[in-house]
Symmetry: C2
Subunit: 229 residues, 2 copies
């Protein structure tokens, strides 16, 4: 059920030499639904219900759960079940502390040209999407830009950690009332950061990025705190 099992060998280019197992496909499907906000924070993922809905056994589903718990997208409460993670203010602050350290340091000491290329592509995609008023894609491009910033550091593991962090962040994005307004103001800022980075003005690029992150953090924190205060 879940998905048409890829024909056979699946030896596509790249690193992925192994056809995904069912648990991996289930995890990917759930991950997508979570970051897209279709499964909102706090939602319980009942084993019986989900396994029948997806057409997989409970054992396989539980393997998928372990993957997503490891990515912090699900939380496990013993004998109660697994739930879509709910981020609180401390979580958001923690994530942005992480991002500030990594992204600013990456820009300050550039080591990989591949990251710059990603940043460039992301800025172009964001501009294009904004012109078409495709706000969701603007958000995607924004995330892509910052993954690119991280890639400047030149560590595959660091990139992966950051991708996981952004998946978590989307749990908070879903709480922001007008998601369009969240990313649009950053389009020009990203372009400016890119230009500074390409001209070798590493310190100024890093400083501008820090301002971006402080601003973004404040917006998300306000949204997570809710209408109160």
């Amino acid at each position: 059920m879940v998905a048409p099992p890829p024909t056979s060998a699946t030896i596509l280019g790249g690193v992925q030499l192994q056809r995904p197992t069912t648990a991996q496909r289930v995890a990917e499907l759930l991950r997508e639904r979570i970051v897209q906000g279709e499964l909102s924070s706090g939602t319980q993922c009942a084993e019986l219900q989900l396994s029948t809905a997806l057409g997989v056994s409970r054992n396989t589903l539980r393997e998928a759960f372990q993957i997503l718990v490891g990515e912090h997208l699900l939380v496990h409460e013993p004998h109660r079940g697994v739930f879509v993670r709910r981020l609180d203010v401390d979580d958001v602050r923690d994530i942005y502390t992480f991002r500030r350290l990594v992204e600013c340091a990456a820009l300050a000491h550039p080591a990989s040209a591949r990251g710059l290329a990603e940043m460039r592509a992301a800025v172009a995609q964001g501009m294009d999407a904004a012109a078409r008023e495709a706000w969701h894609e603007v958000g995607t491009a924004d995330v892509r830009f910052h993954v690119g910033v991280t890639a400047v550091a030149g560590s595959e593991r660091l990139d992966q950690a950051m991708r996981g962090l952004f998946a978590e962040l989307r749990l908070a994005f879903a709480l922001v009332p007008d998601a369009h307004e969240l990313h649009r103001p950053f389009l020009d800022l990203n372009a400016e950061i890119l230009e500074l980075a390409e001209r070798g003005q590493a310190d100024r690029a890093s400083l501008l990025l820090r301002r971006y992150l402080d601003d973004a953090e404040a917006r998300i924190v306000a949204a997570v705190q809710g209408p109160s205060s």
Copy 2:
């Protein structure tokens, strides 16, 4: 089998409010064996053999595998099984690129006093262990010192990522012939870094740390490359 299931409630102090599930306990047991080198790189973890040896079902064991695969300690090869990860030179370089960025940036922009306290405790432990010629404990203290450095940044998620990175690194430590000699030369260096950090000489501490990491990387790379060259 695996381990005496903790009596009942297990509401110890700290964050851990949930009694570990069997899969988590199995994962912890295997993790320990892996980082201690008892399960060496490349070893296959046969499901039937391990599940009977540990007294758990195959399903439960497979859940534990997913946890450790997520931590990069095991690799999954479809229809072949799971194996203890084998690090190559690129892996070691990647890990040290990660460490350089994070640890140096943490020291350069200190944000948490708790991290400094950990560094201080680790230096003391290392000195004490060296005096007793407990070389294994010297290594433990060295790792603790650098986890402390990371903690200076003040992000729980960053700390966790770094702990995972060190678990991976131990796969490579096991390849170094005389593990004693790996950490001992760094005892004085750690103390010096700590002193600079405590005196607020953030830049000099960060620079010294970078030299440490370059040196350590070279040693590990040489060990992983083997007697050749």
